[in-house]
Symmetry: none
DNA sequence: TATGAATGAGACTTCATTCAT
DNA sequence: TATGAATGAAGTCTCATTCAT
């Protein structure tokens, strides 16, 4: 049976996500988590070896969910530019969510500790993005660079801008967003 | 008296930076910090209200230092492209430092908690970057967008790439770096 | 029905002995025990009121087994000295077993808590030893003292020596053993 | 400065001894210990790395105290037999104490874990007993056996008898004690 | 001003025991 | 009768903070 199917397990995982989103990773105590999940503290340890493993698995959950959000509706785009815009905006909207801020920490906090873990790699989770880059390159539209590089010079601008928006609190209107998308598109394509 | 002038104060701040860089924010205990700084635990509380304030101030310190590193040598560049490259590479090299990883957490961890704090804004600290963007715009070379947007679509690619490099561990050679700089430059300029 | 006749009961008792021998009394958790015995945790409580009672009964089990080991082959001895030597060596060999170390703790740990328990007395279990002492006294060879005293000044030396051997780790050869038996025999007999 | 001189340290050590004597090693919780010692729980950890180290050190303390009790007044004896009797009786009286029962556990529990620890060996602590055995051998009175063997066949009878007395609860009068001493003396001497 | 011993709340985790199935 | 998931009290230990010196 899958590792995902237990009721309590999901309850705990969801509660973890919620609390991490609210208080950050430091604020997460197993006691509070138990209360939030509506289970006894000891119950958590039936499903997760320890806090570290719980967090690792939660990170995977968040990864998955983030990937779904970010890649949503990509297939609706007909042109590459449209697909790119959809993804860029997905990231933008998600990154302006309160959850995103804290989820991000889950990533940062955990990603460096256990590299060779038993969860799918980012490439697999974000395969639609990979596909888009591959397509663009094979069509001769995108620069012939590693997908990691392409992503860094283009899509990453979305999250970066959202970060600045959040932290510095400067206002952004729809026009600015369109311009940002266009500008980052310029980094992607051959001129 | 200025907040900066005491000896002990600097001792503590430096020790904080060092320990955070080494063990991350979690590993920082006031006891260890006291030992590293060569002062008594109680002494820390004569200079900082509590741990949170100490960290906030350290973050400012790190900001300042980071700004210096990132903006180093910009004036040596004659053309805008040269200046841009210098900054991009500064970020790249710094972000690949071990210290950067941890310092970065200091930022992330603290930036969301106390928004309207009493420290200089990023704009002031990174004024050379602002100047470069302003110059580019007034020369008609750069797109006429808010500096935050320009930064997001161009320079941020450097840190983003470094992040991927670190976490995913994929190899990057000098040519790829040059290409990344050129690609992100494309996002910046008018075509 | 007798307290001994159930299958599961024996399974549990044996598992308890094994685990106590391996990990000591501290290491024994009801969960591990259930696993080792091949029953559910709850099942244990159908046969034993609680952990304390389980341990008490296990102690009796161990007693019985120990008595068998210690009194093995006594009847083969023709003279009293031979019988004495057999028992002394039985104790010696058993007490140098790893199991003995841990079993011993079972004794020590539990013997003081519930004095007037409902199990056979030592006298009954170690009746062959009692017989030997009685025989020696009636033949005028042994000192006319209470069997408890006789045992203390003679046979107990075996376990004592084994204890020292174990803890201090000093070497003992066969000759030393023979001498120890002879010396303790001197405490037993009239001169 | 000696590891023994702190006030709080002694307080904690004494409280440990007391609680172990009362409830055994299992009953000892750091919380209860703190209360008994009149310090905060955290304070214990200023003086001892962890529970294990605390127990190890307590064991040494008990060793020392036991040695003092057991070897008390030995020098008052003029003949070897007198010295032997004094020690035997010291053990007897001590072993009938309630403290002794539990202290004994401290020994058993801890002695096997860390052999090569940084505390004096038994030989050094019980040097008066060693001296007595050496003296007896050099005078040609005692059997020429290793002191460990001599001790096992003679003095150990005292503790063994006390154990039986305690556990089985059989009565012992002064005459029986004298006889036990004499009998065990027989194991010691040449005939 | 500086010290650092002391505090005690709270962190993570274990485990004897119960109870709905 | 048997199960084993669930419980939650209690365990060890850490650490931000205080305060008498």
């Amino acid at each position: 049976m899958s590792a995902e199917c237990s009721d309590k397990r999901k309850l705990i995982l969801n509660a973890t996500e919620k609390l991490v989103a609210e208080d950050g990773i430091h604020g997460l105590s197993m006691q509070k988590l138990a209360k939030e999940a509506g289970v006894a503290a000891g119950t958590i340890y039936r499903y997760f070896d320890d806090k570290e493993h719980l967090l690792e698995e939660t990170r995977y959950h968040v990864s998955q969910r983030t990937a779904d959000i970010i890649q949503a509706g990509v297939d609706d785009g007909t042109t590459l530019k449209e697909k790119y815009s959809i993804i860029w905006l997905n990231i933008w909207h998600f990154a302006n969510t309160k959850d995103a801020v804290k989820s991000h920490m889950l990533f940062e906090q955990l990603s460096s500790k256990e590299e060779g873990c038993h969860f799918p790699k980012k490439k697999e989770i974000f395969y639609k993005i990979e596909q888009m880059f591959d397509e663009g390159k094979s069509q001769g539209i995108f620069k012939l660079l590693d997908n990691n590089v392409l992503s860094s010079v283009s899509l990453e601008s979305s999250a970066a801008l959202a970060r600045k928006h959040r932290n510095n609190g400067f206002p952004i209107n729809d026009e600015a967003i369109t311009q940002a998308i266009d500008a980052s598109w310029d980094a992607l394509i051959n001129h």
